[in-house]
């Protein structure tokens, strides 16, 4: 009895010391997530150019948002179009290719481990270097055009023209699909062998296994991958900065690039913040819709 009351007295202190362990994360969220979100939301309703003065010049209400859809629209709309085009093509493309390449790689067999490693290697090329590498590979004198000419094809313009730059950029991104393959393989490996054995006893052939077992069992990964690729591809920018030149500036005009130049290069935090919030809203809506329609995802156990 005495012990119990003693423990009860200690409780508030105990509670507090336990909380101290997670204090870094709590402060981190307040300082580096909540505070910047609130302040940038506030700045998005102001005129704020850091070249003029260190604090916002004046409250302008919705003027920045209005400007996005009126005076700035030719540029913003174009960038949104480029970003949307890139996302619409690459999300299904990278997913299907990643999935297809994971299929022969998920069962342990001789050499499979080596193949998995080799396919992953290009992911280790740093982003900045990959830009220079692909810039060099795709020049008229570059190795890819040498090979195209060698097999009797015409050289391709790749990054040197607005018409072909997007294709080249998508091709460049294809080489980092290894990161995706690792995830698919892990998901496929989690499928119990007994399922395949039972299906084989019933006389099922490979297409049936694929459609009735592998794909349904991979739906959690399809969903995870879908959400992740939507968020990532809408924020594409850094991987394009090296390969984007005056020759293809229109074709690789990604939305984040415009926000970056507004904020960092032009010091226009008012309009820049509004533009970043527009992207935030677009991502939130698309991700939200994806979550809403996830009835097709199979979960082994309820979380």
């Amino acid at each position: 009895m005495a012990l119990q009351s003693k423990r009860r007295k200690l409780k508030p202190l105990d509670n507090f010391t336990s909380f101290l362990f997670v204090l870094p994360a709590v402060l981190g969220i307040l300082l580096f997530t909540l505070l910047p979100m609130v302040s940038s939301l506030y700045y998005s309703f102001t005129e704020y150019n850091t070249m003029v003065s260190a604090s916002p010049q004046k409250w302008v209400g919705l003027a920045n948002y209005k400007a996005i859809f009126t005076t700035e629209w030719p540029k913003v709309g174009h960038a949104l179009g480029v970003t949307a085009l890139y996302s619409l093509i690459t999300i299904p493309l990278y997913m299907i290719i990643g999935f297809a390449l994971a299929l022969p790689l998920f069962r342990e067999a001789r050499g499979v481990r080596v193949f998995r490693t080799l396919v992953y290697l290009p992911v280790l090329i740093p982003m900045i270097i990959s830009g220079y590498l692909w810039n060099d590979l795709t020049q008229s004198y570059g190795h890819i055009n040498q090979l195209l000419v060698a097999v009797g094809l015409k050289p391709y313009a790749f990054f040197t023209s607005n018409d072909t730059a997007m294709t080249a950029f998508i091709l460049m991104g294809l080489f980092t699909v290894g990161g995706n393959i690792v995830l698919w393989v892990a998901q496929m490996k989690a499928i119990p062998d007994s399922m395949f054995e039972a299906a084989k006893l019933e006389g099922a052939r490979y297409p049936t296994l694929l459609l009735r077992i592998i794909i349904p069992m991979c739906t959690p990964m399809i969903f995870y991958n879908l959400v992740l690729s939507v968020v990532n591809s809408l924020q594409t920018y850094a991987s394009a900065i090296v390969v984007r030149t005056h020759l293809n500036a229109d074709a690789l005009d990604f939305y984040v690039g415009q926000v970056y130049s507004k904020i960092v290069e032009m010091s226009d935090l008012g309009l820049g913040s509004a533009m970043s919030w527009l992207l935030f809203a677009i991502i939130a809506i698309i991700a939200g819709v994806t979550f809403k329609f996830n009835k097709w995802v199979y979960y082994e156990e309820e979380m």
């Binding site: 362990f21 300082l31 940038s40 080799l118 220079y132 998901q187």
Partner: protein
């Protein structure tokens, strides 16, 4: 008999296709090697193998100050790794081995931040760092790591810590150990595999980071602080370092920059792949 033959043909075809795919994926890396060792006079020649082999690409890289960039990047990475390892394990311990009021709510909020679009957040952080006078310093790259070390890492370490038996902690408690001692002496040593993973992934993230330095470090007067990615980018635009526009210099730097990543990947392949999949499949 025919069934066996058929199976062998299918298996053979599978290996052929896989080999072709792998050759395709290795092609860019192969070309990196060829370009890095091409002599200056032939970098724009349309030939598959270098007409003349040379290490002048590496020499220009060294003369242009690539080691300074390496040193800066190592310093930033070291600070970030320390911050991430310490704070993510502390928080993970707080979410798994001790109890406090509102724990599940706080954990929910931490996990919710996983959903936030990263680049959007970086753009919104710019004005804050600007007002704090942090632009052009390493602070935006290192300090946030000390505040939780990222929701993914907290989540991963927490999952791992949950597998440490509570009876071990209870025993230590009865022996008079306080919560911090249990964390430091018992739980942390048992979590080294996942902490290793977190440290490696943090290193790779810092080493290759382009967007962070591009946003927060690229200010006049802070050239001496540039990290590898930003330094390479800025120097290749700078007429003073005109050699850095040459593919042989760029690919020489590229090989140097890739080397630690490849070494770490091969040393910790299992940790890395397990960690990546733990964050997605089981999460």
């Amino acid at each position: 008999m025919t069934a066996v033959v058929k199976r062998r043909v299918v298996l053979g075809a599978k290996y052929v296709v896989l080999s072709v795919v792998c050759l395709l994926f290795l092609f860019p890396i192969f070309v990196m090697f060829l370009r890095a060792f091409t002599a200056d006079d032939f970098v724009f020649a349309s030939v598959f193998f270098p007409v003349e082999w040379s290490i002048s690409g590496f020499r220009y890289a060294v003369d242009g100050g690539v080691f300074r960039l390496v040193l800066n990047t190592v310093a930033v990475a070291a600070l970030t790794i320390v911050g991430t390892a310490v704070s993510s394990t502390l928080c993970a311990y707080g979410f798994s081995k001790v109890k406090f009021k509102g724990q599940s709510v706080v954990f929910g909020v931490v996990i919710a931040t996983l959903m936030l679009p990263a680049v959007c957040m970086q753009l919104q952080l710019y004005s804050q760092y600007f007002n704090w006078g942090w632009i052009g310093t390493w602070l935006p790259l290192c300090v946030p790591a000390f505040f939780g070390g990222g929701a993914t890492n907290i989540f991963l370490v927490r999952q791992y810590m949950k597998s440490v038996p509570n009876s071990v902690c209870e025993a230590a408690k009865i022996d008079g150990a306080n919560k911090f001692t249990i964390y430091l002496r018992i739980v942390l040593p048992m979590c080294m595999p996942i902490v290793t993973y977190v440290m490696i992934i943090t290193f790779l993230g810092c080493w290759n980071d382009l967007m962070g330095p591009l946003m927060y470090l690229q200010a006049s007067g802070s050239e001496h602080l540039y990290t590898l990615s930003l330094g390479i980018y800025m120097k290749s635009l700078d007429p003073e370092f005109w050699q850095w526009q040459f593919p042989n210099v760029q690919m020489a730097i590229g090989l140097l920059m890739m080397l630690p990543c490849v070494v770490l990947f091969f040393l910790f392949q299992k940790n890395l792949i397990d960690g990546v999949t733990m964050g997605s499949v089981k999460g």
